[in-house]
């Protein structure tokens, strides 16, 4: 083999493997939930350690997802100085948990190959400024990285930026991220919107009981680049980056409006009124020249909107490539994979839609009898991975007909969306991080 070709092959394979390995944010590369070149196993067994590379105990209570860059995994957590705060699963009502003891908020780096903790940084200490929902955590937002910095959003405790060794570069106080029951500001449920890195900035969505805004901060300095105030209900959705032709838009999912913003200026480009539902949790999904937006409360009429990108002003039904009147999940973000949109509702009804037409391809129950699904599904190697709150990871073959390949038991509550990295699936359960792979 000619030397040049060999070098090129090596270069390509290195590039490919690095790409297959990185899972840099909530739902991974481009917040897609898809690890295109990864090959995690479809079955494993914790008791016998079959296909389980390592298990690492994690302190505290956190629903944030692990992220991966190179040979490191990063997780955030909030640790009570005394006692272990509990979490309710299933439909857990509207009550708040009032954690009155001091907590430390932490960023932890873990060796991807061995699962060992490389460093553990205490970022902030204090009593939580707000309560959380009994089903929530004080560290629900997933951190984001671009390989140079790591950004972690600890809700009302602030926005923090670190270098890859965990040294704090800057922090910003976003004020209270006071989210809760829409019609009653006395309910504090705790935020979950994750920061989104776009080029040299990080974008945050702070839709709360009053004074909601979307803002961008310079990754290098922490300087606020823009901040756009808007009238919104509390939401828990993560902003998405969508590219349409030459234009890039930041799309936010809110209870009053779904909106597109210019990432350079923060100017609102378009908005679509959603007067059917209020409480928004799932992240918008980019699908070709559309963005698919889901979620809402009450539960009976949660629509799915496929909105054409590139619009301006107040959008109407004409801007919808397709929509449904119902079928959205409440919590988890759906998954676009090989032309199909997979929507798993909180009670485990999995529907596949043609992402171009919105036609439903199938509807099936996954794990009937589970308490619920809060984690978002992820995909790799022709398979979907759906983690239930009970800790069952269902592996479903991707495609136009439903086929359950395996049910793998994690043995404890699982709220976080798993990460996929190379040959591994990385699952955060209530007390540990599990590296699944051969």
């Amino acid at each position: 083999m000619p030397r040049v070709a060999l070098a090129l092959t090596l270069l390509l394979s290195t590039a490919l493997s690095a790409e297959a390995q990185n899972w840099p944010s909530f739902r991974g590369p481009d917040a897609s939930g898809v690890a295109s070149a990864a090959k995690p196993p479809s079955t494993w067994d914790l008791a016998s350690s079959r296909n389980v590379t390592w298990k690492t105990a994690l302190p505290g209570l956190a629903h944030s997802s692990p992220i991966v860059w190179g040979d490191r995994i990063y997780v955030t957590t909030a640790v009570a100085v005394s006692g272990q705060p509990g979490v309710k699963t299933g439909e857990a009502g509207i009550a708040s948990a009032n954690d009155t003891v001091s907590h430390t908020w932490r960023l932890i780096a873990i060796d991807r190959a061995k699962g060992t903790i490389v460093w553990d940084r205490e970022v902030h200490k204090g009593t939580p400024r707000l309560k959380r929902h009994v089903k929530a955590s004080h560290a629900s937002a997933t951190p984001a990285t671009n390989g140079q910095v790591i950004v972690a959003l600890f809700g009302s405790e602030g926005l923090f930026c670190f270098d890859m060794a965990g040294a704090l570069k800057w922090r910003q106080d976003l004020g209270l991220m006071d989210v809760g029951l829409v019609d009653d500001p006395s309910y504090q449920w705790g935020p979950a919107s994750s920061p989104t890195i776009f080029e040299s900035m990080v974008i945050v969505q702070n839709d709360r009981h009053k004074d909601s805004f979307v803002a961008a901060f310079d990754l290098a300095t922490g300087k606020q680049l823009w901040r756009t105030a808007h009238d919104e209900y509390p939401s828990w959705a993560t902003p998405a980056v969508a590219r349409s032709g030459a234009r890039t838009e930041i799309v936010t999912n809110g209870g009053k409006f779904i909106r597109g913003f210019d990432p350079k200026t923060g100017r609102e480009l378009w908005r679509l009124s959603d007067n059917l539902t209020q409480v928004k949790v799932p992240t918008p999904i980019v699908s070709g020249d559309t963005v698919i937006v889901t979620g809402g409360y009450p539960s009976g009429g949660r629509p799915i909107y496929a909105i054409r990108l590139g619009g301006s002003g107040e959008l109407t039904a004409k801007s919808l490539a397709w929509s449904t009147e119902r079928g959205s999940p409440y919590t988890g973000t759906p998954l676009l994979y090989d032309g199909l949109l997979y929507v798993c509702t909180d009670n485990g009804i999995l529907s596949a839609y043609d992402a171009t037409t919105g036609g439903r391809v199938y509807q099936q129950r996954v794990g009937a009898g589970s308490s619920g699904f809060s984690a978002s599904p992820v995909a790799a190697d022709g398979r979907l991975y759906l983690a239930s709150e009970d800790g069952d990871v269902f592996v479903v073959r991707a495609g136009r007909s439903y086929e359950l390949l395996a049910t793998n038991r994690m043995g404890e509550v699982t709220m976080a969306t798993p990460a996929v990295s190379g040959g591994m699936l990385i699952v955060r359960t209530q007390t540990q991080l599990v590296g699944i792979g051969s």
Binding site: G90, E91, P298, G300, I349
Partner: protein
């Protein structure tokens, strides 16, 4: 003016309790369940199995309700009654969140009058915002009985003030006496009188036997979800129909109430005893002698090793009394989501704690349920909150089939002319053969969640979605060509 026909009313009550063969069922639908035994079955013929909101195929009329409606409609004396909230602002002078019972003309859906209740100042703890009136009324002898969001048993003139403005009954403090206002005959405030603290909402649908009205009080835990602040307040009461005075009460659940109490009572003659049967907050179903309130039996609907709230359930379903047996499932507040459930056939001729002795059969494949059963042709149809409709052998509890609606079911299966009608949270109303083999006949969508049960009355089907009341009837002039599904 109230038409007082005590003799005739007595005959109706007796016939519906099974003393007279029910060859010609009532055409009205005057209470939750249609009859005191609460069996959701009607032999009414000619109702459509499909309709279409867009093309208006088979849609007789549509009435706008408030923004939420959880009660089931009842139809009597040419009036359709349904509970909702005040977001429809039928009276522009009445502003803000209220509990509202609305009355519509059966023939064309014209709004007639409404009964409006302020929200309780305690808020969510006793009177959840925007849920309105959740009770389904009972209409007897031209009088409308229901439970308000304020924990009152109300008695209203079904004609309102449309009877030449006559203010019937002893209650004369109505603020307004216009044609669109409610004419209150009496009310019994069981929060005030009995110290009841209903958890989140008082919702019971009344039932009657002779001169007594029976309701569950919804007495329950406070917002801590630990403490029962009023354990000695009754779970069930009997109130004199004429005077509005308390006749008997029972507080058997005491401080063992797991959460709230949202079951409604059923009445039936079993042997020579007329029994009032109701699910209660400690997970038991209990029966009382109708006249005296003497407790006859109790049955624990949960396995002994069950643990609240994971595996032990409360009871929200209404018992069904059918051929000397009682059928009921347990479940939990929809806010608690899905979980395991239990469905039983119980022998109510036994006395005392009959959890063992009165157990005819148990069906364990059901999930948590807040539905009520329908028994027809030897089959018990029972739906669960996870979205399954179960068809089981009424004699043995053995399953015939199970149908997946793929959406939560808050309402109940209703059998009409050999077909099961069932709505779900996605707003779909599915019609199936009420038979031993599963066959879906049709499915129509109501535009928003159906939390109610479709009910038949006088040749029409009434369905409530989140904020509208639909009268559905076969229309010979339906634009078949323009219709389609």
């Amino acid at each position: 003016m109230l038409r007082r026909l005590p003799v005739l009313a007595g005959i109706v009550a007796i016939s519906s309790l099974g003393l007279v063969a029910r060859s010609d069922p009532p055409k009205d639908w005057p209470m939750w369940g249609g009859t005191p035994d609460r069996n959701l079955v009607s032999s009414m013929k000619g109702l459509p199995t499909s309709w279409d909101l867009k093309s208006k195929k088979n849609i007789k009329w549509v009435a706008e309700l408030g923004s939420q409606a959880y009660g089931n409609p009842v139809v009597s004396n040419g009036v359709v009654l349904v509970g909702t909230n005040n977001e429809a602002m039928k009276d522009p002078a009445v502003k803000g969140d209220k509990g509202v019972l609305m009355a519509f003309r059966e023939s064309d859906g014209q709004f007639l009058w409404q009964s409006v209740h302020d929200k309780l100042s305690a808020g969510r703890a006793n009177d959840w915002p925007f849920q309105g009136v959740c009770s389904s009324p009972l209409v007897e002898d031209g009088i409308v009985y229901y439970v308000s969001n304020r924990g009152e048993l109300m008695a209203l003139d079904i004609q309102g003030f449309r009877d030449n403005g006559e203010n019937d009954g002893p209650f004369k403090e109505e603020k307004q006496t216009r044609e669109t206002d409610a004419d209150i005959l009496w009310k019994y405030d069981f929060m005030e009188e009995l110290g009841v603290l209903q958890h989140n909402m008082a919702n019971s649908s009344p039932v009657a036997f002779e001169n007594l009205i029976y309701i569950s009080t919804s007495n329950g835990q406070d917002e801590s979800h630990v403490n029962v602040p009023s354990p000695k307040s009754p779970a069930i009461i009997a109130v004199d129909k004429t005077t509005g005075k308390l006749v008997w009460e029972d507080a058997s659940p005491g401080d063992k109430i797991l959460h709230g109490q949202w079951s409604s009572p059923a009445v039936g003659r079993i042997g020579d005893t007329v029994q009032v049967v109701v699910g209660q907050g400690d997970g038991y179903v209990r029966s009382y002698e109708a006249k005296t309130g003497k407790k006859l039996w109790e049955f624990d609907l949960n396995p002994k090793d069950s643990v609240w709230p994971k595996t032990r359930n409360e009871v929200i379903s209404t018992p069904v009394i059918y051929e000397n047996l009682v059928y009921i499932a347990n479940g939990q507040d929809p806010e608690h989501g899905e979980g395991v459930g239990h469905l039983y056939a119980i022998d109510p001729t036994k006395r005392g704690d009959i959890t063992q002795t009165g157990r005819i059969w148990h069906y364990g494949d059901i999930r948590r349920s807040i539905s009520t059963g329908a028994i027809y042709n030897g089959i018990l149809f029972y739906s669960d909150f996870s979205g399954f409709l179960h068809a089981v052998d009424v004699k043995t509890g053995k399953p015939f089939w199970k149908h997946d609606m793929f959406a939560a079911i808050w309402g109940s299966p209703m059998v009409i002319d050999g077909k099961v009608y069932l709505g779900d949270e996605d707003g779909d109303v599915t019609v199936l053969n009420a038979d031993r083999t599963l066959k879906v006949i049709d499915e129509s969508n109501m535009g928003s969640s159906v939390y109610s049960t479709p009910v038949p009355a006088n040749g029409a089907l009434y369905i409530v979605n989140r904020n509208q009341l639909f009268a559905i009837a076969a229309s010979p002039t339906a634009p078949a060509a323009a219709g389609g599904k």
